[in-house]
Every structure is written in structure tokens, then in C-alpha cells.
Symmetry: C2
């Protein structure tokens, strides 16, 4: 922790502040307090929840240098195309190309290719791939086929979208999140099949991050964590989004050394979006704001934002060592989301003081 930021919620660029010179203290007069401009924030991110949080974070800290380490455990090969759902959700959301209603996929997309594939009887038919979206996967797959690592392909795709953050996959190596189905003799399915096709209705007995133990963090990921002023956990799935990223050797260790503030993905005992509760149940963690924080643990987590309705967690004994703050956590619109991000940055500043 370098204490490189102020907690004054200032969004405008400070006079004399140097954007594009992210490392140095931004000329602050108050000792020990720097400005949001130039601060470095690293965010391990899943899909929809993370993407929306990041939009708020960009608004709250427009001059910060934000690095996103995206979950690629959900990546799946469909029709020979390498689909990276979480990377794309972040890229499209921050780049202005997301289907706002769905939260994933491209705005105004059509489904001609998928309908034609179905006419060929080519499966699977349970994964929505729009025509615009397919172009992204085609371009990515083509680059991977030409020998580019996923991080480089992601950089090329982001040249178009200009998401305003540096988007890295957690690893250039293949990691696949698999779901161990309960009571099926250890049978596993790809996470997407459980999540999308089975709607997580078949109970999971656990998760396997196949390939994780041999995976290396993507180039720049450990450095981005190491140089970060703060690491923020967005309200992503703690098990199969952030958890997958933490399973890549070296990443959890690097994060542990930083000031880490997380935003609870659970409000009032239920996930705001998605089915994190089912993932938590599978690994025996209570689906509550306190439960998730305890799952991350005080060795990793320094601060934790819970919703006001979960404010009892502030004094939960199992969260000793974690600074818990209760604030409104529904990301109903951009101002509300930016306020959450500011609360996280405020807490980080407080912890680093």
C-alpha cells in the first residue's frame, strides 16, 4: 500500500495532476494522501457484476489506471470458436457495445448464424451467440490460431472497444472450470453447461479449475497487482469468478500483500444477479455477505462492503480483522454504482492511512 490517493471523492482531474504518469504521487500537498488521478487499481473480475461495477469505478476514478484481471475459466470452445464470456462482458460493457438488458452479448445483435447452425443440426443450441458477438470470437480464434496468446488477442480486440481499462485474462494458459454434479459419481460438466444449459438446477458437489495448477498468470498480471494502490474485488461470484482467478498460482499470494477491499455480491442472503448462492452451497459456504467475506478470509481481505440490510455483518465475530462497512449496494444506475466504487476507495484509503 502506498497511500497514493485521497478519499475526497474528487472526480475531476486535479489542477496540475498528471494523467498518463500513473506511478508517481500526483503532487498532493497533504502528506500521505495522494489523488485519485494516477492511482493504480487492480480488479479481478468475473462477468456482468464486475463489468457494471467497473463502469462505476471508472466514473468514480476517471483518471485512475485500472487493470482488470478477467476470469477465463468460463471460456468455452463452441463451433470451433474460442468464446471468452467474462472478458467480452467487461470489454463490451466498458466499450459501449453491451446488450444492456441482458448484461452480456452485443447490443442489437441478431442470431442468423446460430439459427443456420441449428438448421444443420450442429450443437450446442443452449449457448446464445449473436452474429456481432461471433465476429469477436472469430477474430479471437483466428489470432489464437495464428499463435497469439489470449492476452495479446484480448489487447487487439480492446483496440476497437477502448474500454478505458487494461484488460488482461487471468492466464494465457487454458483453465477450465468444471462442475462436479452431486450424486452422479463424480461426473463433471463444463461450467457453462451447468450454468447456461442446466440453469444450475442440478446441484453441484464442487468445482474443479482444470489446468489451473499448471497455469501461469498472464503477462503483466502479477505486476499490475504488485504495483496497485488497491485491489478491489467487484461483486462477482466468489467461487467461480474471483475464486477461479485466485486459483492461478501466484495471484492470491500477490493480492494478499495489498490493501484489498471487496464488494459483497450477496444482499440479504441472495445474489443480486446470477446464482452465486448455488456455487456457495456447493462448497459449504453460507450465502450471506458475511459468509462470502469469511470465505475470502481476513488474510486476503482488508475491507468489505455490505449492503445496508446486511449491516449486522459489521460486527460479525467471524469477520474480525476485516473492516466492514454497510452502504447501499444495488447497482441500479451509474451514480449508484459510482457511489459504491467510491465507498470502496474510501475504505481502502482509510485502511491504508
Amino acid at each position: 500500500m502506498t497511500g497514493q490517493f485521497s478519499a475526497d471523492r474528487r472526480q475531476d482531474r486535479p489542477e496540475g495532476g498528471v494523467t498518463g504518469h500513473p506511478a508517481g504521487p500526483a503532487g498532493g500537498a497533504r502528506p500521505g494522501v495522494a489523488r485519485l488521478a494516477g492511482m493504480r487499481i487492480t480488479v479481478p473480475a468475473g462477468g456482468v457484476g464486475a463489468a457494471r461495477f467497473l463502469r462505476g469505478l471508472k466514473s468514480a476514478a476517471p483518471d485512475a489506471e485500472i487493470t482488470v484481471i478477467g476470469n477465463t475459466g468460463d471460456d468455452i470452445i463452441l463451433f470451433g470458436l474460442h468464446v471468452s464470456p467474462d472478458l467480452d462482458t467487461v470489454m463490451y460493457t466498458l466499450g459501449g457495445g453491451i446488450d444492456e438488458e441482458q448484461g452480456w452479448g452485443r447490443d442489437g445483435d441478431t442470431y442468423t448464424v446460430l439459427a443456420e447452425l441449428a438448421a444443420y443440426g450442429a450443437g450446442p443450441d443452449w449457448f446464445g451467440l449473436g452474429d456481432r458477438d461471433i465476429a469477436t470470437h472469430l477474430h479471437r480464434t483466428s489470432m489464437l490460431g495464428a499463435g497469439l496468446p489470449l492476452s495479446a488477442a484480448t489487447r487487439v480486440l480492446c483496440e476497437r472497444w477502448q474500454p478505458g481499462v487494461r484488460l488482461l485474462p487471468m492466464s494465457d494458459d487454458r483453465v477450465e472450470t468444471q462442475v462436479i454434479l452431486a450424486g452422479q459419481d463424480g461426473r463433471t460438466v463444463h461450467f457453462q453447461e451447468w450454468w447456461v444449459r442446466l440453469h444450475a438446477e442440478v446441484p453441484a458437489a464442487g468445482f474443479v479449475f482444470a489446468g489451473a495448477e499448471d497455469a501461469a498468470p498472464a503477462p503483466g498480471a502479477l505486476e499490475a497487482i504488485g504495483q496497485a494502490d488497491v485491489v478491489l474485488f467487484p461483486p462477482s461470484n466468489p467461487v467461480v469468478s474471483v475464486g477461479t482467478i485466485l486459483a492461478v498460482p501466484g495471484i492470491a499470494e500477490a493480492i494478499r500483500a495489498k490493501t484489498v477491499v471487496g464488494v459483497s455480491p450477496i444482499i440479504g442472503g441472495a445474489p443480486v444477479r446470477g446464482m452465486a448462492d448455488k456455487c456457495l452451497a456447493a462448497i459449504g459456504v453460507e450465502a450471506s455477505a458475511a459468509g462470502v467475506a469469511a470465505h475470502y478470509g481476513p488474510a486476503l481481505l482488508d475491507g468489505w462492503l455490505v449492503d445496508e440490510r446486511d449491516k449486522a455483518a459489521v460486527d460479525a465475530p467471524e469477520l474480525a480483522g476485516v473492516a466492514v462497512r454497510a452502504v447501499p449496494l444495488y447497482m441500479t444506475d451509474l451514480p449508484a454504482t459510482a457511489a459504491i466504487a467510491r465507498a470502496a476507495l474510501d475504505l481502502a484509503a482509510e485502511l491504508a492511512a
Copy 2:
């Protein structure tokens, strides 16, 4: 030549004729003359011209067993997708999915994916790939990636389209037609780049069928030729369509043993469609009905249909040994095209008598 057909232009199934028993004489009373039902026709085919001719042939001989050996020298990998333009043109045309106006590509197609790829700056942008069409290439590429040979992937695609012919690629091995550009120190480009991007406006000094000498005919191709009652050359490009197919070792030899009737792709000194004249010029062959027949040569060609305006070719000395007939050759509509196919079958019957 087995003489397994009549020349009576009968299109209806003869009473007592046995469809689905293609080999045997179809119960004809006249010795040496069989019926169109059950006859076997093999057609080495390029794209648009061949596809339209085949539509006429199916109409003229609805009960014949037609095997099409498609040119794959024009195949190209675009955005990682294996595109087989000639196979698809035949499949879509005979299966009722062709863009009739263009002559290639899918009916009612849209270009969302291509526009998105262009937005990424991903090239090339000179090859039209519609969304519906892309589904075909995705499915094909996916099957090839799974280890299926092109012939098997083509069979799977045809299960949807039911083209009413057996469609084989000339080879499961990769053959690439390259164009040697004139006056550019032997520089070659992929045929599609010359044809589509350069509109064949840069003079060609010749063609290379890269990989052809090591290619094997696709499974069933030599058998289809060997068992054919007649081999018909459609009005395809004699250099880069039929010529490419003939470059696969074994195919020309097998065809030479059969009764072969061709349809001139040149009418009145110009190709009806496409730029065959530019291909012919590159290899020093006169762009005329007689020139093309002489290029194939009497060792390969037994009969040759020319348009009425080219009837001088009937007595051309260089075509000694080839039976030349002048008939209307414009494939203006299905009846006109069927009449051309019947004329070809009539000539074959005459030659086999």
C-alpha cells in the same frame, strides 16, 4: 461406356423402370439402349456455371444417379474458416439455398459478421461472407478440426441441403490454385485474391495447383468415374475449375476411359460468365469454343456442345476426333438449361451407340 441410356429425352420414369438400381439395364426392350432412369453421370464441376448446368441436368435426367466432383482449388481460409466456394455453390444451388441473383452465397443473406470483423480491422474485406454462409463454414471448419476429411464434412452439410446429387470434393487433400502474376518476378497470389480482389485485371502468367501432385482423389471419386455411363463437363472454367480437378493424379486418366461430353463455357469468343478468357489467355489458349475443346483435346473429349453462333467449330480441323454439335447454350432458365443437358446426353448416347 455401357450404353445405359436412351436418347429419347424422356423425363418421366419409365413404366417398370427401377430407380435405386442404378447399375443394371433398366428393362429396355431395344438392345443396347437403356433408359435415363438408373444411369450414372459424373460431373467434374466448378461453381456457378456448373451448378446451373447441374440443375438442368437433374431436370433432364431426374432419375439418374449424378456424382459431382467439385473443384476445391479455390478453397480458402478466411478468418480461420475453411471456405469451399465451388462445393457450396453447387450445394446451395441444387439444395434451394442459393442467392439466385449473385449465383453464389446464400439467399437473403446479411453481412453482420463481416461488418463487425471490418470494425475490428480484421481482413480481408474483399471476400463476401454472409452470415448464413458463415454458418456453413463454421460447421465445416469445426468438423475438419475434429478430424473429419472434407468429403465427410461435405456429406454432413449435404444432409441438410439434399442437393439430389452425390457431392464429392475432388480431394480430401489441400490443393490451392495460385496465380502467377505476369511481370512480377513469379509472384503468386491465391486464386481468390486474383479473381475477387483483383478482378483478374492483373494479367496472369500461369496457374499453379499447389499440392495437386501429392493429392489423392477423394474417396469414391475414381469409382464414380469408373462406374459412370457418361462424364459431362459442365460449362465451367476449363483452366481453374475443370483443369484443377484434372490435375489431381488419377482423375484425368479415369475420365479418359469414359465417354466424355463437354459443354463450351465460351460463346461467341467470350465467357458467358466469369473471366475464363483471362485464364485461357494466361495459358495461351484461344478464348473460343473450339479453343477450349482443343485444349481438353480429343484424347479426353468425345463430344462437345457449342452454341449455335459457334457452329463453325463443328468442322474445325483442330477438333478432329471430337463430335461437335451446335445447340443454344445460354442457360437462360431451367427449360433452356435442361435442353442443353439433354443435348449433352443425346450426344453421349450417340457416341456410345
